[in-house]
């Protein structure tokens, strides 16, 4: 599968901080990619370099097989920043038209695409309204439309669901899937791990300006599993001692067990079968991304990321 975006050894240093410190990764065409990290990890700086707002101090960005050219490649990218807004006093239709033209669409093209998207998301009646008349969720929807309407190859969404109710969040989610199916690549930046788990194929975790995790959601979970299993029995005998596992937690008839070194999950099952206990359920407990995230980030002092002087 070919890559839409490749980052090689990107660096961006500010006066008091290494905002992005040697980050490399690549993103497959048509995938939904999650860029995760705590506040101040350098995500926004990274995204701004990908969108051509900042130039990296060193390193290279390759977009669609060619060296990234910030001026001409703008049309290929749609960026919805975390801090976003619109002209409050401008009519919504005119505003969408203006922003689409700024991306490089001709007026006729822009008009056609706006009509398409407004109809699709049932926003036709908004045309002559002003942004100040919209609720937060509505303007979020408008933001999304403005970001994707020129059908860019690479769509970057920074916290796209903040302020959206579940119905509208689902609507946007479906659109994101749809865009990915039609060949767009989506970079998704958020703190909300349950959304990442649900939507993303591939994730990268950034902390203190460095990449600390890179892989598919499934492989990351495998990597961080603790060999814990949950077993539900019809009844739990008084004392359970086995060589293959230890009991971590017990709730009514449900046991959480941790398999000891050198044993496999079947050994546990075998033990219970040998005891002639009827098993109602047995499944592996994989860590949630939330747990992985907290584990990795906690203790790195990223929450109190200190300002340091950078002399080189």
């Amino acid at each position: 599968m070919s890559m839409i975006l490749e980052l090689q050894h990107l660096k961006k240093y500010y006066a008091t901080q290494k905002a992005v410190d040697d980050i490399s990764f690549s993103i497959e065409k048509g995938s939904i990619f999650g860029l995760l990290g705590p506040n101040g990890a350098g995500k926004t700086t990274l995204l701004r370099m990908i969108t051509g707002i900042f130039y990296p101090d060193s390193g290279e960005i390759t977009l669609d097989g060619k060296k990234f050219d910030p001026i001409n490649d703008i049309i290929k990218i749609g960026y919805m920043p975390e801090e976003r807004g619109l002209y409050k006093k401008m009519k919504i239709g005119e505003q969408a038209l203006y922003l689409a033209q700024l991306k490089g669409l001709s007026k006729a093209e822009a008009m056609e695409k706006i009509k398409f998207w407004f109809t699709r998301l049932e926003m036709e009646s908004w045309w002559n309204k002003k942004v100040e008349d919209l609720s937060k969720g509505m303007s979020q929807k408008l933001q999304f439309v403005i970001t994707v309407l020129h059908e860019p190859k690479l769509i970057i969404l920074d916290e796209p669901f903040s302020g959206l109710d579940p119905v509208n969040a689902n609507l946007i989610k479906d659109e994101i899937y749809g865009l990915a199916q039609r060949g767009c690549t989506v970079i998704f930046s958020t703190h909300r791990m349950e959304q990442v788990e649900e939507i993303c194929d591939h994730i990268v975790l950034v902390n203190l300006g460095q990449k600390i995790l890179d892989g598919t959601v499934a492989s990351v979970k495998q990597q961080f599993k603790e060999n814990k299993f949950r077993i539900q029995l019809q009844e739990v005998p008084a004392n359970l001692v086995a060589d293959s596992f230890e009991i971590v937690d017990q709730k009514a008839n449900q046991l959480t067990v941790k398999i000891k070194e050198g044993f496999k999950s079947n050994d546990v099952l075998k033990y219970f079968l040998d005891q002639n206990l009827s098993i109602e359920a047995y499944n592996e407990i994989l860590p949630s991304l939330n747990e992985i995230f907290i584990n990795l980030v906690e203790g790195s002092k990223s929450t109190t990321r200190a300002f340091q002087n950078i002399n080189d």
């Binding site: 920043p81 807004g85 619109l86 002209y87 409050k88 922003l99 700024l102």
Partner: protein
């Protein structure tokens, strides 16, 4: 379409389509003129007579001081100094003038003028003029100088002919008119710089505070966004100004028709120094045709050309600085005040130099001020009004224009760098020191 033009078009249209634009563009001159018309109307038409009781014990005035109905009326009464306050308190008279029995014209005695309430400046001036004139007439009479002799003495003369070395004639009127033109155009540019500069600044602040800048910056370069804004607002300013000029000339004619006696009463008005000088020059050279010849001596197409050049040049130079400040300000508009100071200082400095330059267009300060790009848009207008090459040499004018263009390129270059960093910077209070750091760091 070019992105700068796209941005400019939006900036222009959103401003011009607003109701407040029409209101300020057409309403403002109307209000100002209405205001002036009212002042003039009330000062010309004083309905209340100011009655002065004159007790002339020395019989100096011979029962005659010129009175004018609607203004001041002098009436001679037979009363002594003790009875005069009574006349005033009985509301028959507003004031009294007491000439003691021993009063002589040659002596240093003074006359006592008492009024029930404080006398306004204009009335006071009228009273003084009338009384002095009456006294003067008596003095001449006592010195046996005939009226004809006095008239011939008072006749206007223009013995000294001022002209430049190359033979161009130059009279007081022309200098006065040049003074007025220079002063007015200098002040206009000053106002333009402030009005449209702050408009640019507020536009940038709005974009930053509402976070739209983040969205736009991903599709437009910060420089394009800034230049688009400056161009768009500049076009608004130009249009607004043209409308104002048309309105001002139109209304001036209207006022001249409505109040034909205006020029006469103008002399007593507390008008602006520029107008005063011109009016004085006009008075000394006698009449309206003097003013006309003064206006004729001024090359108006040339001045208007220069005005438009310095208008645009000065606006571009300063608006990019205003944009830089706007980009550095966060939610709190108070921050803007302190950041603006280094920008407003040279503008105010320029006004100070301009008031000097308009008097003496070839002084060292005027030459410096008219060449230095931060002050030249205002100061050069004062010199240009005196004509080329009398007020300013062609070389200096060309040099000033080139320096202004270079200055504009320079400030835009610096401002663009500040703007680029500032527009995406939130939550931090920014100082000029930091802005300078951004401006001069290598990209």
């Amino acid at each position: 379409m070019n992105k700068i033009l796209l941005v400019a078009r939006r900036e222009f249209l959103t401003r011009v389509q607003k109701k407040t634009f029409l209101l300020t563009t057409i309403g403002l001159p109307l209000i100002i003129f209405g205001f002036y018309a009212m002042i003039i109307y009330f000062s010309v038409k004083t309905t209340d007579n100011f009655r002065v009781a004159v007790a002339d014990k020395a019989n100096i005035f011979n029962n005659k001081i010129e009175s004018k109905d609607g203004e001041v009326i002098f009436e001679f009464v037979q009363a002594d100094s003790a009875a005069l306050p009574e006349l005033i308190s009985s509301k028959k008279y507003s004031a009294s003038l007491y000439v003691p029995a021993g009063f002589t014209l040659q002596g240093n005695d003074s006359l006592q003028f008492k009024s029930d309430k404080a006398v306004g400046l204009m009335t006071r001036e009228k009273i003084q003029r009338r009384i002095n004139k009456a006294l003067d007439d008596k003095r001449y009479e006592s010195m046996h100088i005939s009226k004809v002799q006095i008239d011939s003495l008072n006749q206007e003369r223009d013995l000294i002919k001022f002209s430049s070395a190359n033979g161009k004639t130059d009279n007081d009127t022309k200098v006065g008119v040049s003074y007025a033109v220079g002063m007015i155009s200098g002040f206009l540019i000053y106002i333009i710089l402030f009005i449209y500069g702050t408009m640019v600044m507020r536009g940038v602040m709005e974009e930053k505070v509402s976070r739209i800048a983040e969205v736009i910056i991903s599709s437009v370069k910060p420089f394009q966004l800034m230049m688009g804004k400056i161009t768009g607002i500049g076009a608004v300013g130009l249009i607004q100004f043209l409308i104002w000029i048309v309105l001002v000339f139109g209304l001036q004619f209207a006022i001249a028709i409505l109040f034909p006696s205006l020029t006469e009463s103008m002399q007593g008005q507390p008008i602006q120094p520029a107008g005063m000088q011109a009016a004085q020059a006009m008075k000394s050279s006698g009449a309206m045709n003097g003013l006309m010849s003064g206006l004729d001596a001024i090359n108006f197409p040339f001045i208007i050309g220069c005005f438009i050049f310095y208008f645009i040049g000065g606006y571009l130079l300063y608006s990019s600085l205003f944009a830089a400040v706007g980009s550095a300000v966060n939610e709190d508009p108070q921050d803007a005040q302190s950041l603006l100071l280094p920008i407003t200082m040279p503008i105010i400095f320029a006004i100070v130099i301009m008031t000097k330059a308009v008097n003496d267009p070839n002084s060292g300060l005027a030459i410096f001020g008219s060449l230095f790009p931060l002050t030249s848009p205002i100061v050069m207008m004062a010199r240009v009004a005196h004509g080329v090459p009398d007020g300013v040499t062609y070389f200096q004018l060309a040099l000033s224009m080139i320096l202004l263009i270079l200055g504009f390129l320079g400030t835009t270059w610096i401002a663009a760098k500040i703007y680029r960093t500032g527009i995406l910077m939130y939550g931090k209070k920014i100082t000029w020191k930091e802005m300078m750091k951004w401006a001069f760091k290598k990209s």
